[in-house]
Each structure stands twice: as C-alpha cells, then as structure tokens.
C-alpha cells in the first residue's frame, strides 16, 4: 500500500494537469467535482495507508521514487510516518471539504475551472511538502505552496489589490525562504546530504550546539515566513484578497502550518539548541499576543480571522518551541478544523451579503442564515477554548506544558493566557457584529442561507471542531490520548515536554476557561448597540494606542517607507546613475578616449612636408641614439 503512496500526490496533481487543459471547458460544476474527487480519493488512500499507525503496528518507512538531485541527497523520496500521516490526512481531509465547498462558492466565476486547477495544484504541493523525506524535497513543496498561494491570492488578477497581495505574499515568503536556503546550505556543509535519515538521526554526531543554533535559526526564519510569524507575518492579512476557500485552506488550515510541521519534523535539530527552542517559543508567544491585539479592531470579517490565524499559529510555535511537539501538532490539527470552519462560514456570509466584507454592514444574520450561524457558533466556542470542544483540549494542553517548563516559559504562559482572553474578546466581537445584534445591511442586500454544497462542509467541519478534541484527552480508557500514541513513533528519540504533575493541569484548565469566559462575557456586553463596530475594547475613540492598533501598528507603512522605498531608490540609483554613468560611462569613456586620442594626433599630421621631414629626421636620430649607444663601448 505504501509503495504506491505517490498516488496521494499524483491524484491532485493529475487533477491539476487535467483541469489545466480541460477545466475551463468542463465548466461548472464538473471541474469542481473532478478536483474534489481527486483529493477525496487521496484522503481515502491515505487513510487506508495509515492503517498500521492506527493499530500501533506501523513504523516510519521511506519510499524511493526516483533520483532527483542525487549529489545533494535530495531525491524524490517519501517518508511515511505518523507525523506525515497526520499532516496528510489533515490536508486531504480538510482539503476535500473545502474543495467541496468551493463548488458552490465559486459559482458563476468566469475562471471556475482555473480555480480548481490551482486548488488541486496546491493540494499536491502541500502533500509533497509533508511527505518529503529530505529537506530538498521539503523545499520543493515549500516553494510550490508559495506559488499556489500566489496564484490563488491574485486569482482575481484584474483587482490591483489582489495582484499586489499575491506578489507581496510570495516575496515575503521568499525572504523566509532565503533563510531556509541558508539553513540548507549549513546542513549540507555539515552533513553532506539533505536526507532526513542522516540529518535528523542523532545530529549531534555531526554538529555542535553552536552549529545547530545557526541551522535552526535559519530554518526558523523560513518557518516564520511560511507560518506568518514575527517578523514576517505581514503578508497574511493581505492574502485575504483571495477567494475565501483559499483563505480557509491555505491561509488557515494547511499551508501556514507548514512552519510548525517543519519545526516538529526537525525536532532533533532544534533540540540541540536551547537558544533556538527559546526563540521559537518566544516568537510564537509574542506573535500570538501581537496578532490578537490587532484582531481586536479589525472591521473586515476575514482580516479578523487572518490575525486570529497568526495568533493561533503563534500558539503552535509556542508549543513546538517548548518541546511540546505533539501538542503543537494537535493544535495544528484542531485549528485546521475550526479555522477552516470559521473562514468558510465567513465565506458563506460574504457570499450572502453580495461580496460585502465589512462587518459594519452586517449584523443580525443569525435569523437569515441559521445553519451558518449554528456552525459558526461551534467554531466560536472551539477557538476561544470552551470545553469540550476541540480548541480547548489542544490549546490547554499547550498552555499546561508551557507552564510546566517554568522559568522564562512561565512568562510565556502568562502571555498565552492573556492571548486566550483577547481571543475570546475579538472572536465574540466577531460573532456579535456579524450574526447578532440588529442588521446594518446596505440597501439591496438580501442575505440568504447558502446552498447545501456549502453548508454540508460547514456541518462536517463543525462536527470535527466539536469532537476531534476528544481524541487526545489526558484521561484513561475511552478518552485516552490516542493522538499522542499515534504520533509517538515519530518522536521516539526526542525529549518531550511534560505536563506538570498532580492537579496543576486541572487548575490551569480552569484558569484558562475562566479567562475565555470572561473575555466572551465582556465582549458581548461591550459590542452591543449602536456603532459597536467602531468601539475599542476599552476606552473610546480612535486615539493613541488604538490608532496604532487600528493600523496594525503601522508595520506595513514602516516596511514600505524604511525598506521597500529606500530599496527602490537604491536600485534606481544603481541602474540609472551608477550603471549607466559610472560603469557604462567608463566603458564609453574608453571608447571615446581612443577616438579622442586619434583626434588629438590628427593635427600632428599638419600637411607641411617640412614637418614630415622633421618627424622623419627625428625618427632617424632616435634610432641612431639606440644603435650608437649599443655600439659605443
């Protein structure tokens, strides 16, 4: 079964190729159906292939397909172990639902077929990423998802903002990729190969802690780019220019989690450097808090979710940085469900509101869109961490494990807790402004419930968001931590973070649930009534701190004015002054100089025969000077 694992990648890839040529001709809804069925089939195949892992009898194996860049140890080899299985199942599972949803959502788009081409292509790329058995192939997937992300963000290319957002996403990702690439250089220089087998198995044989720090920090830069962490987070909010299913699939459920996956995958490397681990965790925690504060003031229905995603990814980084790899992956898994759910729900709303995304013009949708509202309600509870929904189990496990590490991590726990509170605030605000309260719709907007093809995935995801937390509870018996057991083979040699002993976890759980509840309660009170959408969480108006928050701390402006603009100026100076005047100028000067010398010499040929005689005679005398000096002893 695993011998043919490539089928999982090949299916969506074949779908993409097929749809590339025939997608537009197939049209609605067949293009969507083809795409959905390829990825769906991939999901089923992966499920069957992962059978051994469920029974606990499976162990990792590599499948060699063909040589790619053999000199670097970067071949087309797949690694099938529990970690990649979880990722594969998440990608294909959530992916299938989102594909399905898109069949309805993309209704009427002139480039309907092309959309599914790209979507399928993304799935294939993401699967290459998670199934790769070496950093080379990982990097292939890493870049290809970037490409799909670019294509899908700027899918509506006639909109300049969409085109710009796609470009921004790709380029910012590339900044991280440069770091990643440098990491790979370091790996190759020290290990002479990029294969996981050599690099990740007891890396201490090859490298010192210092080298490990260098490698992992570089890899972290890559991860930060892909997973939208500080300092490379700022592309993700703009990425919301893409169609909503794209936001759900790529910018919430799967692609952005690649960084987390990569850190977990390279755990044995990160483990060698306490500094890198601390950096990962700290970046994660601060990103979580930072993004959450910005989310408090956003008015765009999708941008709130985008910042929320950044914030939740911060949790995952916090987890893997603490050594809580399984908890991180678990949060990745649950987050995939509830964040995809929230995005699709917002997509359903946008769809219903005639492509309106401003929450100021929504409100009161609970009644007209009951199914959407119900599923969103589940998602809301899941993300703010109300037991027994999925978010609670995964987020709480992370916070508990972080608390257990103590020291600096204790401080990070506080940040995590505050973030949990803020999450409850902004998500409740989101619900409040969108579904509850009175309607503030524009004239001519007649919201309606979405068709079944959209609501069915919502329901499925809602079910997942509600139930999948239960597969990893810290209890015994039926509620045993099955997810953890499942993943353990992938982290055999890794030292994992441990839960605090005794009743502490339960106390911590109570604290975080209380924080969430507090936040939710406060928000429902705060955002009720007239012009709630303009209100800040505390204090009024668009002044001081809140103006900063409103504008995302002016990060985009700072980057634009301090990096991009000077960069362009430097490039322009190089091109139009240095290159054309100095470099080419000196070339032309040499050419012109030769000509000028000719011009200077010309007047010496005066035309006067006596001058000619003088020159000739001078030549005679000159030659005689040489010869006589040679001859006179």
């Amino acid at each position: 079964m695993t011998d043919y694992l490539w089928i999982v990648i090949a299916l969506p890839l074949a779908g993409a190729v097929f749809l590339h040529f025939f997608g537009q001709r197939l049209g609605e809804p067949w293009a969507g159906i083809v795409a959905t069925s390829t990825i769906g089939a991939g999901f089923i195949y992966a499920l069957v292939a992962a059978g051994d892992f469920f029974t606990g009898t499976g162990h990792g194996e590599t499948i060699h397909l063909f040589d790619w860049i053999a000199p670097l140890g970067a071949n087309a080899e797949l690694l099938w172990d529990p970690l990649s299985a979880v990722m594969t199942l998440t990608v294909t599972g959530v992916g299938t639902l989102i594909h399905l949803y898109s069949i309805g959502y993309m209704h009427g788009d002139p480039r309907y077929g092309r959309f599914f081409t790209n979507l399928n292509f993304f799935a294939a790329s993401m699967l290459i990423l998670v199934l790769a058995d070496n950093f080379g192939l990982l990097f292939v997937g890493w870049e290809l998802v970037g490409l799909s992300s670019y294509l899908l963000i700027s899918f509506w290319f006639t909109k300049p903002s969409a085109a710009a957002a796609g470009k921004k996403a790709f380029i910012v990702n590339r900044i991280g990729d440069v770091g990643f690439l440098i990491g790979l250089m370091l790996i190759l220089a020290n290990f002479s190969t990029l294969t996981y087998g050599t690099v990740l198995e007891e890396p201490a044989r090859f490298i010192t802690a210092g080298t490990a720090t260098a490698i992992t920090l570089m890899l972290l830069l890559g991860a930060a780019g892909k997973s939208a962490q500080i300092p490379l987070y700022f592309w993700l909010p703009d990425a919301m220019e893409g169609p909503t299913p794209v936001s759900a699939l790529i910018h919430a459920a799967t692609m952005v989690t690649a960084g987390v996956y990569m850190v977990a995958r390279a755990a044995s490397l990160f483990e060698l450097s306490a500094f890198s681990m601390g950096t990962v965790a700290t970046i994660g925690a601060f990103t979580a808090l930072f993004a959450a504060t910005i989310a408090l003031k956003q008015r765009d229905i999708k941008r709130v979710l985008a910042f929320s995603t950044i914030s939740q990814l911060g949790y995952m980084f916090l987890a893997v940085g603490t050594g809580a790899y399984i908890a991180g992956i678990f949060h990745l898994f649950t987050h995939a469900f509830f964040k995809a759910l929230l995005f699709l729900g917002s997509g359903s709303v946008i769809h219903a509101m005639n492509d309106e995304q401003d929450m100021a013009k929504m409100g009161g949708l609970r009644t007209v869109m009951p199914v959407t509202h119900a599923t969103m309600f589940v998602g809301w509870l899941a993300i703010i961490g109300i037991p027994p929904l999925a978010g609670f189990w995964s987020k709480d496990e992370i916070l508990a494990l972080v608390f257990g590490e103590g020291g600096w991590y204790g401080f990070l726990w506080v940040i995590g807790l505050v973030t949990a509170l803020l999450t409850a605030v902004y998500m409740t605000r989101w619900m409040q402004l969108t579904f509850w309260g009175e309607a503030r719709w524009d004239d001519g907007v007649h919201p309606h419930e979405s068709p079944a093809v959209m609501t069915v995935p919502l329901l499925a995801l809602a079910a997942g968001s509600a139930l999948f937390g239960l597969i990893n509870t810290p209890f015994k018996g039926f509620f045993q931590p099955a997810f953890e057991h499942f993943l353990e083979p992938s982290f055999e040699a890794i030292e994992m973070a441990h839960l605090p002993s005794g009743a502490t976890p339960y106390v911590l759980a109570v604290i975080s649930v209380a924080a969430a509840a507090l936040g939710a309660w406060y928000a429902t009170r705060r955002y009720r009534g007239e012009n709630a959408f303009e209100r800040a969480p505390v204090a009024e108006g668009r002044t001081g701190l809140w103006r900063w928050v409103d504008n995302g701390y002016y990060v985009d402006d700072i980057i634009g004015n301090l990096l991009v603009l000077p960069g362009k100026l430097v490039a322009a100076w190089t091109a139009f002054v240095f290159d054309s005047d100095v470099i080419d100028g000196s070339v032309r000067a040499v050419g012109g100089g030769v000509r000028r010398i000719g011009g200077w010499l010309r007047p010496l040929q005066t035309g006067f025969v006596r001058n000619y005689a003088a020159v000739t005679f001078a030549g005679v005398v000159g030659l005689l000077v040489w010869f006589v000096s040679r001859g006179v002893s």
């Binding site: 860049i69 490409l147 220089a189 050599t198 190089t574 091109a575």
Partner: protein, 514 residues
C-alpha cells in the same frame, strides 16, 4: 554507426547557410522551410549525440583529430564531454526555435537565416573545439553573424549596440589570443614542438606567475562574454536591440561561451591560479547576482529587465564554477542549460508582445492577462522558472550552486542567496505591472492572444523546463564524471582539497565521527 557526428554538427548548419544564400530569388518562400529543416536536422544530430554519449565516462568522446595548420601545431580537433554535451544540445535546440520565431522577418530574410545558421555552426564549434586556436576561431568568427543580426535587424539603437557588442567582446578576445599564443610558446619550449592541443597543453608545467597572467588573459575574455560585473554593460544594449532570435541566441548560448571557457580552460589549465583567485571571481559573481537583480528591478524596459536578469543568473553560474566543488560546478553547468531555456523563452515572449505593440516599455502595458491569457500563462510560468521555483529547471541549478558553494565561500553564498529573493521581486513586479489589473489602454484591449505557431514554439521549451526540473538525473549523471575530472585535476595539481566530494555523501553513517 560510424560517422563524424561532431563535424556534421558544425558543418551542417554552415552548409545550410550556403544553401540558403544560394536559393534563387524567385523561390524566396523556400528560405524559411529550408533553414528550419536544416536546423532540425542539426537538432537530430545533437539528439543522436546525447543518446549515444557514454554517461559514465568523464573524458572526451567522439574525438576527431586532423592536422590542418600543421606548421604551428593547429589541429582540427573536436571532442565532447559531459560539460559541453548539453551546451551543444541546447544550441541545437534553440536554433529551430529562433528560426520559427523569426518567420515574420521582412528585411532580407535570406541573409537573416543564413546568419543564424552560420552562428549555429560556429557556436557548436566553440563547444566542441579541443584546439585552442580552433576554439578561438569559432569564438571570434561568430561575432560576425551576431554583429549583423543586431546591426541589420535590430531595434532603434542597433548600430551603437552592435558596435559596442563587437568591440567589447573583441577586446576580450584580444587578450585571449595573446594568452593562447603565449601558452603555445610555452608548449614549444617544454614539449619541443608547437601545439595548441588542449589535451597536450594540460601537461604543461606553468609557473605560478605565468598562471596568474594567463588566467587573467583568458579570464578577461570570458568575463566580458559572461558577462561578469563590471564588464556587463554591453549586454543590456545588445540584448535589447537584437531581434528576438538574436536575443534568444545571445542569452541562450552566446553568454555560455564565457562560463564554458572559464570551466574548460581556466580551471584546468591554470589550477594554481584558479584556487588562488576563486574567491575573487566568486565575489565578482555575487556582486553581479545582486547588482544585476537590483538593476533589473527598476528597468522600465521589459527586454532590458530580462537582460539584466541574465547578468544575475550568469553570476550564479560563475559562483558555482568557482566553488570548486562537484556540486557547485555541476550546478553551474546545468544552470547554463537552464538559463538558456528560461531566458530564451522570456526573450521569445517579450518578442511576441513586441511584435504586437512595438514597444517594450512596461508602462505601456497593464492588465493584458485578460486579453492574452495564454500568453500570460506562459510568461508567468517562465518567470517562475527563471526565479528558481522548485520543480522547474532553474531551481536544480541554483540549488546545487548555492548548496555546493557554501562550504567554500560561505559569506558570499549567503549574499548570493538573496539573489533568489530579488529575482522574485523583479519578475513578479514586472508581471504585476504588465499583466494584472484591468486593461486600461485602448491598444492593449485590442491585443490578440498568441496563436498556434507561437504556442508551438513555446511548448518544447516549457516541456524541457519541466523535464529538467523534475528529472535532471540523466543530465546530471552525464555532467558529473566530467566535472569530477576537472576537480580531480585541480586537487592533483595543487594542495587544494575540494569540500563536499561526492564520495563523502555515500559514506556509511556508522563511520562518521563528529
């Protein structure tokens, strides 16, 4: 089969040029089919060569040797190894495409095609010649058809560009000639007979000082050809003013003569100087990478942008070569081929749009993806290939180069890695300005998408781009033995030890101790 395939590769196109010129005026319609057929025939020969090539052998194959100008030891001496094999194939591949791309030439099509075919023969000759004078002859003589291609069929500023191209590169060749002559004088002293035979010259014992001077003489010629910063300014002018086929060939193959020259001659003939100067050249290459990319970002002219991107990409090739590691050099070789394909394709694309709108100004366009979706798709695809997207060919080369050269030039390679970032910046920004948004200019709204002929030109390139990106193994397997020989030679002649030898990778895990 026993025939002189290498000679045929050179002389079929040259004879083709004669045939084309000899066609009677009233049968003018035959010119392009005949030229195309002959270039395809050459491609077939190249295919035969690739197919019959013994991959595991790092030496020269299909060697032909006849003394021609025997008094000075000048031979007609041809041979192909893994390094030149794919450059020959690339050349043979790009010419039929160049011819197809030029079917709309109105001014003297006969002479145009003849110049192209002559150029093809000479270019293949450059890569096959194993005699230094023969190499120089091909190296220099191909300036003539290229000069006419730019000067007669070029853009508005074609005269300056053609002259600059010719003089600048001829200046480099002058130093090369002096170097070659000096080398043969050395041979005369040491071997007792004059020779220009590359294989025999390898046995020379050249003093360290002489190596430096010779490295410099050869190096300047090749650096201008590559072009390495700061010798690059002829390139944007020539590329921009040349007709499409000219730009394709110029970028696709002509520049490779420089990098090929470095690899074939400087590394092998002057190993001592190579080891000493590798860092310096790598530094120039890295400056070129960043510089070319930075300048490309702000170019208002699409063709100039692509031209400057060549400076950047060729910098990678040189960096790889002077990494002096098997991976780096192999990466350099494969990157030569890759760059030929991607940049060639980019120039074709720019040519197609130029044919429609007669402007290369980026600002003259906008939103044309809507009216030319196929064109936009090809362009974006090629742009990503050029930017080194994994799965496409450009990545394989850049990846090998960067990873291979890190162990020798860590700091430089890290800087070079940012070139990958900048490539994305200038290509995507250009794409954004040309293709996205709503088409707001009347001229652009009326544009027609590319037709079957143009797609037919692009598809083979796209196919190769994908093929090389996904399965470069056949190519790499043939390149590596030849590259290994070069590195071996350097190690034998100097006390240099190349990091990252292939053998290290195959080491048993158990034996490795930290």
């Amino acid at each position: 089969m026993d025939f002189n395939v290498l000679s045929l590769l050179i002389w079929v196109p040259v004879a083709g040029a004669a045939v084309v010129v000899g066609l009677p005026r009233r049968r003018a319609e035959l010119v392009i089919p005949v030229a195309f057929a002959l270039s395809v025939l050459t491609l077939g020969l190249a295919g035969y060569l690739v197919f019959e090539f013994e991959g595991a052998d790092g030496g020269f194959q299909f060697v032909e040797k006849t003394a021609i100008w025997s008094d000075l030891g000048i031979d007609y001496h041809l041979g192909v190894d893994g390094i030149s094999l794919f450059l020959v194939a690339l050349t043979a591949f790009l010419f039929p495409i160049g011819i197809l791309a030029s079917v709309n030439i109105e001014l003297r099509p006969k002479e145009f095609m003849a110049a192209l075919l002559l150029l093809e023969g000479a270019l293949i000759g450059v890569f096959l010649a194993l005699d230094l004078v023969l190499f120089f002859v091909f190296f220099e003589v191909l300036l003539v058809p290229m000069y006419f291609l730019i000067g007669m069929w070029g853009g508005e500023r074609r005269l300056d560009a053609a002259l600059k191209f010719f003089l600048y590169t001829a200046l480099g060749s002058a130093f090369l000639l002096v170097g070659i002559v000096f080398l043969s004088a050395q041979a005369n002293q040491q071997l007792g007979s004059p020779t220009f035979n590359y294989l025999e010259l390898l046995d020379l014992d050249i003093s360290r000082t002489a190596q430096y001077w010779l490295f410099g003489a050869f190096g300047i010629a090749f650096a201008i050809k590559v072009p390495l910063f700061p010798f690059h300014t002829w390139l944007p002018d020539a590329h921009t003013e040349a007709p499409t086929a000219g730009s394709v060939i110029l970028a696709g193959v002509l520049l490779k003569m420089g990098t090929y020259g470095f690899l074939r001659f400087n590394l092998s003939l002057f190993p001592e100087a190579t080891v000493q100067l590798a860092t310096f050249l790598a530094a120039l290459a890295v400056v070129g990478i960043i510089y070319g990319a930075a300048v490309a970002i702000v170019q208002p002219d699409l063709k100039r942008l692509v031209a400057y991107s060549s400076v950047s990409h060729l910098g990678f090739v040189v960096l790889g070569i002077f990494a002096l590691t098997s991976q780096g050099v192999s990466g350099g070789v494969i990157q030569m081929v890759n760059h030929g394909l991607t940049t060639g394709a980019l120039f074709l694309l720019v040519g197609m749009i130029y044919e429609r709108r007669h402007t290369r100004e980026i600002s003259a366009y906008g939103g044309i993806q809507k009216v030319m979706p196929w064109f936009a798709g090809f362009f974006l695809f090629t742009a990503f290939a050029s930017a080194g997207l994994p799965g496409l060919n450009g990545f394989v080369g850049e990846f090998l180069i960067l990873l291979g050269s890190y162990s020798r030039h860590p700091a430089l390679t890290i800087i070079a890695a940012f070139g990958v970032l900048l490539a994305a910046v200038y290509l995507l920004w250009a794409y954004e300005r040309v293709f996205t948004g709503e088409p707001d200019k009347e001229e652009n709204k009326a544009l027609t998408d590319i037709g079957m002929r143009e797609i037919g030109i692009l598809v083979p390139m796209v196919a190769l781009i994908i093929m090389l990106g996904i399965y470069p193994k056949p190519v790499l397997d043939r390149i590596e033995p030849a590259v290994e020989r070069v590195i071996d030679r350097i190690e034998q002649q100097t006390d240099f030890q190349s990091p990252l030898r292939i053998d290290d990778i195959a080491l048993d895990d158990e034996e490795v101790t930290p």
